[in-house]
């Protein structure tokens, strides 16, 4: 991989759950289980999968906003698992995150000016005299202007507020931004505005994006490559177009077939999977997808398929594909 900005190897996140009062045994769940992938500089890497599969947990780990239980993680060749907290704080300037709902991630009591200025103040980037000017430059990049500087969050629409969150994420000139469902709370007409904005910024500033979403249409539109997660595991990685046009893993196939496309089709049947989504607390044996997989073979219940390269830039974890 040319110039990787992120190299993750076998990273694991375990959460301890409080046991029942009768059981002395602690249980834990593996929200992210031995995930390995690289992202190169200037790339948009999409992460998709159903609710609870570990997308946000993985995103937070990449920024070390969550500790990593095991495995190794390099950012620009620096081992993030071995940094002191002071070193980490310095490095964080280069990595930012934007959430689905700015209402819960940004302070509702601050004006737009102060929301965007906060990182500049914390890191002493701009003197107070120039703050308005600096913030205006940032707002301008996201299509907002002077008239928004003194507004409070509740005086803005969802789309405008998400622009503020993006401006704030850009304030420290980061090289990596994790976008966790940045358009999921928006209407489609506004979602398209924000996606266009993100694409423009990414190209202009040569940013690296980790783009998390459960909306596959959106992910394929913006990503160079995507990783498909199922119950804490990456089950397929590949170029966006290839994964969409020719999914290899049965789960990816099912996911794609389940999206209702806004077109009147010849047959109106949606392809459906059977069965419930199993719990990460108690994942199925063997391949975690075997309880819902339409192509399951006996081997799938017994042994867990590894993520294996099927071509230079395509990885799949499925016994059938590898065979």
């Amino acid at each position: 991989m040319p110039n990787p900005i992120i190299v993750a190897k076998d990273i694991v996140k375990e959460f301890q759950l409080p046991g029942g009062w009768l059981s002395r045994k602690k249980h834990s769940i593996r929200a992210v289980d031995q995930v390995s992938f690289d992202v190169s500089r200037g790339e948009v890497f999409g992460l998709v999968g159903e609710s609870g599969c570990g997308k946000s947990t993985l995103g937070l780990m990449l920024l070390r906003l969550l500790d990593i239980t095991s495995g190794s993680l390099f950012f620009n060749s620096i081992d993030l698992t071995r940094l002191t907290s002071a070193e980490l704080r310095q490095l964080r300037r280069q990595m930012q995150i934007v959430f689905q709902n700015p209402n819960s991630s940004l302070s509702p009591r601050l004006k737009v000016l102060d929301i965007v200025a906060e990182p500049l103040r914390t890191h002493h980037i701009a003197p107070e005299k120039q703050m308005r000017e600096q913030v205006l430059l940032l707002l301008d990049q996201v299509g907002l202007g002077k008239q928004h500087l003194d507004r409070f969050p509740h005086e803005m629409s969802g789309g405008q507020y998400q622009r503020v969150a993006i401006a704030r994420a850009l304030a420290l000139n980061p090289s990596l931004i994790v976008l966790d469902e940045p358009t999921s709370a928006l209407d489609v007409s506004v979602q398209a505005q924000i996606i266009n904005l993100l694409v423009d910024l990414q190209q202009k500033l040569n940013l690296t994006f980790i783009f998390i979403s459960h909306d596959l249409n959106v992910v394929q539109h913006i990503s160079d490559r995507i990783g498909v997660m199922y119950l804490g595991k990456l089950v397929e990685i590949g170029k966006s177009e290839e994964v969409f046009m020719q999914p290899l893993h049965p789960y990816t196939k099912a996911l794609l077939a389940s999206i209702p496309q806004p077109k009147i089709g010849k047959d109106k049947e949606l392809k459906t999977l059977k069965g419930q989504i199993p719990s990460v607390a108690n994942p199925p044996s063997g391949c975690r997808f075997h309880t819902r997989c339409p192509s399951v073979i006996s081997k799938c219940k017994l042994s867990e398929p590894e993520l294996i390269a099927v071509s230079i830039d395509r990885f799949v974890a499925c016994h059938l594909v590898v065979e």
Partner: protein, 326 residues
């Protein structure tokens, strides 16, 4: 032609708020035919939910219907007594909400709640009602229905609870089911399971269904006919096929091309500029004019009326009338 099961005519709804009056619906008109799936589509705040609630007379207290009427099986729902309305609500029309926790009481088991509703409306014995409930739960594809019958809502996953809701809504043989974003909170794979199921049950039982959603994909896959609402008005209405193949309102067109489609990478999405107005009642002319790419001077002064392009396709846009929107 058959009579519609539901006819909403020129419905106006206002909200009185501390910031003044909000004209939330301004003349919504549509028919739902017996046994069809009718879609109500539009973005946040366009009035989908209050349209559904008004049919059941369940609007919030701050809302007022200022004009229009709603006829269900020939009866004017806005004129009948509370008691008559209650019996229609239980026996003829039922509603499924996006969030099942608003319809299921967390303090009682699923079975207890289903049993009560079925006994009240079908006048079944406790034992027969239980049988009926189990049959309906099984029909939704839930495994292990006896366990589910005895479970409390919090013991089920979101998808399971949503199925239980559907089982409950369909167990009383209503003639109209209003489903307000029934799958929006669910994952796509579960969503497609549930949509499939709703369609199967709907066909088997022959009920008419109003499917409220902001997801055009869901509508394309499910609905025979649909109405597109924008800022409390009908902008386009008709047969799904006709609307998807040949949208005749700039808003509908904008919505369709704003959704990224497979293979759209590298192209810019055609976003609709601006935002939905807060009080559409304050606007003169066409409600969509401030965001419309085709806006003409006339659109800012006059409000376009419904123009019928064919027997079952109409649009509220001057361009559709002129035939200039290919």
């Amino acid at each position: 032609m058959r009579d519609p099961i539901l006819r909403i005519e020129d419905l106006h709804i206002e909200f009185r708020t501390s910031r003044g009056v909000i004209h939330a619906l301004q003349g919504v008109t549509f028919d739902v035919m017996p046994g069809e799936i009718f879609g109500v589509v539009g973005e946040t705040g366009c009035g989908k939910t209050i349209t559904g609630l008004s049919v059941l007379r369940l609007l919030p207290r701050s809302a007022r219907i200022t004009q229009g009427n709603i006829r269900f099986e020939g009866v004017d729902l806005l004129k009948i007594s509370q008691r008559e309305m209650r019996s229609i609500r239980g026996g003829k029309i039922s509603i499924i909400f996006q969030d099942p926790s608003t319809s299921m009481n967390p303090l009682f088991t699923i079975g207890f709640q289903m049993n009560k509703v079925i006994r009240e409306h079908l006048k079944f014995s406790r034992e027969k009602a239980r049988e009926r409930a189990l049959t309906m739960l099984a029909a939704t594809g839930l495994p292990d229905v006896e366990r589910i019958y005895d479970s409390y809502p919090h013991q089920l996953s979101g998808g399971m609870l949503q199925r239980a809701m559907i089982a409950l809504a369909l167990s009383c043989e209503h003639s109209l089911l209003i489903a307000d974003e029934p799958t929006t909170a669910l994952d796509v794979t579960i969503q497609s399971q549930i949509l499939q199921l709703m369609r199967e049950l709907q066909q088997k039982l022959g009920v008419a269904m109003i499917l409220i959603t902001h997801n055009l994909g869901v509508v394309a896959n499910m609905c025979d006919r649909l109405v597109v609402l924008y800022a409390g008005r009908v902008v386009e209405i008709g047969e799904s096929r006709s609307i998807f193949e040949n949208p005749q309102h700039p808003y509908t067109r904008g919505l369709m091309s704003a959704i990224p489609a497979p293979g759209s990478r590298g192209n810019r999405l055609s976003a609709i500029p601006g935002n939905v107005p807060i009080d559409p009642g304050a606007l003169k002319g066409c409600v969509f004019a401030p965001r419309c790419a085709f806006v003409m001077p006339r659109c800012l002064k006059e409000s376009p009326v419904m123009f019928h392009l064919s027997k079952d396709h109409a649009s509220t846009c001057f361009l559709a009338e002129r035939g200039d929107l290919f």
